[in-house]
């Protein structure tokens, strides 16, 4: 597939990396020559320098033969203009990134009127994810399948946990929980564990379960898990808008701290229920004055990553149980992983997953449709959800008769809204949603998990 990416910022680069790994032909366009050259050399792509919204630059990038154009510059208006131009010139599929809350309410109108295949809003997606982990603080990260009927929950096994030292099989028998262990991360290694795998303290575990079963599971392993009731947010950004919407809606008390008076005024006008504090968020006195140690959760969304990390570490030290840290750059992930940061949100990875899912779904033709895709562990293990069609090779045979590749796990089957636990005698039927976890990346059809 030939894909043009306009905008070489963080999101653009993450997209280029992800899609290039999947073997697509990528052309990146940006006005910053140095940035284009860097990205083009690093990932072996074609780079074009210029304004991606102009027809001549789009022509040069080969819009005529392109299948998809993704506009992810920092400006919503430019992104939309890019898409309109591309649509007029070639009629290829177009995806625009629109982040401003002002346009957010018009997204479905924009999509249908401008003929966009997809409108992505990384800030909104990230805010949704933050809201989920604030509601379920035991989790570092929660992704959902089947419109929220199944959750993929990542958490760290605390020290002194009752299942540390047990094998997966023994732990499941002991807990009698209706959950499925998908992956375990230990140091730099990532596993899709078999029955004899033994848990250790501080392992990062991903489970798949229905929401109610997940709550039971955490109760059984004595993991405190009460939804945060009062939250401090640092930084008034577009993401803060979306997060405040979500939190205020579910009745959480929110305190927002930012040092920009104009932005503070704007937020104070918009949200009556939010306590807006105008002051320097890195000021320790201010934070203790505003009762940091009494907060259930602390969310740092400031623009500078380093500041976010320091603030979250400080909040932890002050006794806040749950911290959420937004990190834009993906450098130094190994260092960040070792810090005690609870949940870390990477908006650009969320976007890259979403678009990679779209691209793979348009590519596959063999009778199943990809619905969702998450990188559980970046570049190592991914989880995806397929709606299985009638012609798929996986239909009509008991699972025990199918020969799966190594490192593949059928994690869940959704049939008519009900979770079916995938045991050996289960037969997949057309119309089922199947969630799989694989160590093999780049799967775009469910039959790819079978041995051929």
């Amino acid at each position: 597939m030939k894909i043009i990416i306009v905008g070489c910022g963080r999101v653009g680069e993450a997209l280029a990396e992800q899609l290039n790994e999947e073997g697509d032909d990528i052309v990146v366009v940006d006005q910053n020559a140095a940035k284009v050259r860097d990205v083009a050399t690093k990932y072996d792509l074609l780079g074009i320098i210029g304004n991606g919204a102009t027809h001549s630059v789009q022509e040069e990038a080969g819009i005529g033969s392109a299948d998809l154009l993704i506009a992810v510059t920092g400006s919503d208006e430019l992104n939309l203009l890019c898409c309109i131009m591309a649509k007029k010139a070639a009629g290829c599929q177009v995806i625009a990134r629109v982040k401003s809350p002002e346009y957010a309410q018009d997204i479905s109108y924009l999509k249908s009127e401008l003929g966009l295949a997809m409108v992505i809003n990384p800030e909104y997606m990230a805010a949704k994810e933050i809201a989920r982990v604030l509601h379920f603080p035991a989790a570092m990260k929660i992704d959902t399948f089947g419109r929220g009927r199944i959750e993929l929950i990542k958490f760290r096994l605390p020290e002194g946990s009752p299942i540390a030292g047990l094998s997966v099989r023994d732990a499941m028998i002991k807990l009698k929980a209706n959950v499925l262990i998908c992956t375990v991360e230990r140091g730099d290694e990532a596993y899709i564990p078999k029955g004899d795998f033994v848990f250790a303290e501080r392992d990062v575990i991903s489970i798949i379960a229905a929401p109610r079963a997940a709550i039971e599971f955490f109760e059984k392993i004595n993991y405190k898990n009460e939804a945060a009731k009062n939250v401090i947010i640092i930084g008034a950004t577009a993401m803060t808008h979306y997060l405040c919407d979500e939190l205020v809606h579910s009745g959480v008390k929110v305190k927002l701290i930012d040092n920009d008076e104009l932005l503070c005024n704007e937020f104070a006008m918009k949200y009556d229920d939010v306590t807006v504090i105008c002051g320097e968020p890195t000021d320790e006195d201010l934070l203790s004055e505003e009762g940091i140690s009494g907060a259930d959760a602390f969310v740092s969304l400031a623009t500078i990553d380093e500041e976010n990390i320091m603030l979250s570490l400080y909040a932890k030290q002050q006794g806040v149980k749950k911290t959420v840290t937004k990190i834009n750059r993906t450098e130094y992930t190994d260092v960040i992983k070792q810090l005690d940061l609870d949940s870390v949100i990477h908006p650009r990875n969320i976007t890259a997953d979403l678009i990679a899912r779209y691209v793979r779904a348009t590519k596959n033709t063999e009778g199943s449709n990809m619905e969702t895709l998450y990188n559980i562990i970046k570049g190592k293990i991914e989880a995806s959800e397929f709606v299985v069609g009638e012609s798929s090779l996986i239909v009509g045979k008991p699972l025990s008769d199918l020969e799966f590749k190594e490192n593949v796990l059928i994690a869940a089957i959704l049939r008519a809204g009900q979770l079916v636990i995938p045991r050996g005698n289960v037969v997949i039927q057309p119309g089922d949603s199947v969630v799989i976890v694989t160590g093999e990346l780049g799967i775009h059809d469910i039959s790819d998990i079978l041995k051929r």
């Binding site: 290039n20 990528i26 020559a33 050399t41 990932y43 072996d44 792509l45």
Partner: protein, 479 residues
């Protein structure tokens, strides 16, 4: 430095070289010319050594520009060192320096030879010489990249180090696919020339060899008199194809894509302009002196052939231009330096660099008159990036430095200045024949001079910096 990646790439290189030996091996079988074992053993050694080197896959496959440069220069040195084996094993020369010189001259598409008589050489050796031109013309590593997915994004570092010209542009997003397209075009034009020569009545063996030599713009011939005894039709065919192979291959891709305006860009226009001007001046100069040619048609044919041969840095000859008047000989020497277009198989400084340099010179004049004027150099109405301009300037300075030091060392041999000067010019620009004693072959030089020439040929083909990086101690410092 990622040494294991360098080892791994070099291993693959040797395996490819072993495969290259297959062609002369088959040729030797057909003609039973007695060089069969020489090629067989060479193949065996390369294959064995290559397999040993690739047994262990490197853990870290990533590398940077530095490794790219070192891989490219080491590869070309390895190619020459191992490619010289058949010359030794078959006994056509007893000096390893000579064998190495001949192979380096082949791969770098120089075409300077240490053989005084080529007609008595075994046919398979002749074919190997021409084949090295063909392989070296487009670049060996580009060739390997086209077949072998070595290491994804890092390939650009290799392509940049190996491809001639100030800027390397990809045709399609992936380096590997670009390499495949370029080799496809190269192969197609080679086949067309081969067929054209066959139709003109040349025998199959000579056609293959002449085509390989022309395609790589090399210049090794199969006759002692190069192409002087070929028919005029054959000479015209070779003239045309020498010029075709010295045009940027990107242009042919653009022609295939029906973008004629982009294909006929400034560099191509300048190149054609220089060729026409040189033919006109030399023909006038030679013909007005009367005693060289009988009629104007013959004069134009020989002059056009010579100009095409020199500017494309091929080095075939149909007539002895060493005896032409001074103006003509001076122009010929200047053409050696101009060279072909960037992105072709030819050598020299390259037309695009000349264009950038001259435009830079005029801009400098303007800045003296209007010190605060803001002016960007543009080519084909695109601004030339400052880094490109800087690297072109640095290239010229480096070129002159290498040239001067080579000339100094060559002068120990005590040849006349024309011989010394043109022999360095002919090797560093990958032309082949010089003037004076370097006209027909390089037997007159001492082993030390030959080593300098080998360095010059490799440095010239790889555009200096890879070879300098390889021998710079800074490259190997830990941090």
């Amino acid at each position: 430095m990622n040494y294991s990646m360098i080892r791994y790439t070099l291993g693959w290189l040797l395996l490819f070289e072993a495969a290259f030996f297959a062609l002369p091996l088959v040729c030797s079988l057909i003609y039973s010319d007695g060089a069969l074992l020489a090629f067989f053993f060479s193949m065996l050694i390369c294959a064995a050594l290559g397999s040993l080197m690739i047994i262990k896959k490197p853990k870290k496959t990533g590398f940077y520009a530095k490794e790219g440069f070192v891989i490219v220069s080491l590869s070309w040195i390895f190619l020459s060192i191992f490619g010289a084996m058949p010359f030794m094993f078959s006994g056509v020369t007893s000096s390893y320096i000579d064998a190495l010189f001949e192979t380096a001259s082949g791969f770098t598409t120089t075409g300077a030879s240490i053989f005084t008589e080529v007609e008595w050489l075994p046919k398979s050796i002749l074919l190997w010489r021409s084949f090295t031109h063909w392989v070296g013309g487009m670049g060996v590593l580009v060739f390997i990249m086209a077949f072998l997915p070595l290491s994804g994004g890092h390939n650009m570092h290799i392509m940049r180090a190996e491809s001639p010209g100030p800027e390397v542009s990809k045709l399609v997003p992936k380096v590997r696919n670009t390499a495949i397209i370029l080799y496809g075009i190269y192969f197609a034009i080679t086949v067309i020339q081969f067929v054209a020569l066959l139709i003109s009545g040349m025998n199959v063996f000579d056609s293959i060899n002449t085509t390989f030599s022309t395609a790589g713009t090399g210049g090794f011939g199969v006759k002692n008199d190069s192409l002087a005894s070929a028919s005029s039709a054959q000479q015209i065919i070779v003239t045309v194809f020498m010029l075709i192979f010295s045009v940027n291959f990107n242009s042919y891709y653009l022609v295939l894509k029906c973008k004629f305006k982009d294909a006929f860009n400034t560099e191509v226009r300048v190149f054609i302009g220089i060729v026409i001007a040189a033919i006109a001046i030399i023909t006038f100069n030679v013909f007005s002196a009367r005693d060289y040619f009988q009629d104007i048609g013959e004069a134009i044919r020989h002059v056009a052939f010579t100009v095409a041969s020199i500017i494309s840095t091929t080095g075939f000859t149909t007539t002895n231009f060493d005896i032409w008047p001074s103006l003509s000989r001076t122009i010929i020497v200047l053409l050696m330096f101009v060279g072909a277009c960037a992105g072709s198989t030819g050598g020299g400084i390259k037309c695009s660099r000349i264009v950038i340099l001259i435009k830079g010179m005029f801009r400098e004049l303007r800045t003296i008159i209007h010190p605060r004027q803001v002016k960007k150099i543009t080519i084909d109405s695109r601004p030339v990036e400052h880094e490109v301009l800087r690297s072109v300037n640095a290239y010229i300075v480096t070129f002159i430095t290498v040239f001067i030091f080579s000339l100094l060392i060559i002068s120990f041999d005590n040849h006349d200045l024309i011989t010394s000067f043109t022999s360095v010019a002919a090797t560093i620009n990958n032309v082949g024949p010089g003037l004076g004693e370097a006209y027909s072959n390089f037997t007159a030089f001492s082993p030390l001079s030959k080593i300098v020439f080998i360095f010059d040929m490799l440095a010239g083909r790889l555009e200096l910096f890879p070879m300098l990086i390889l021998f710079s101690p800074l490259t190997y410092k830990k941090s």
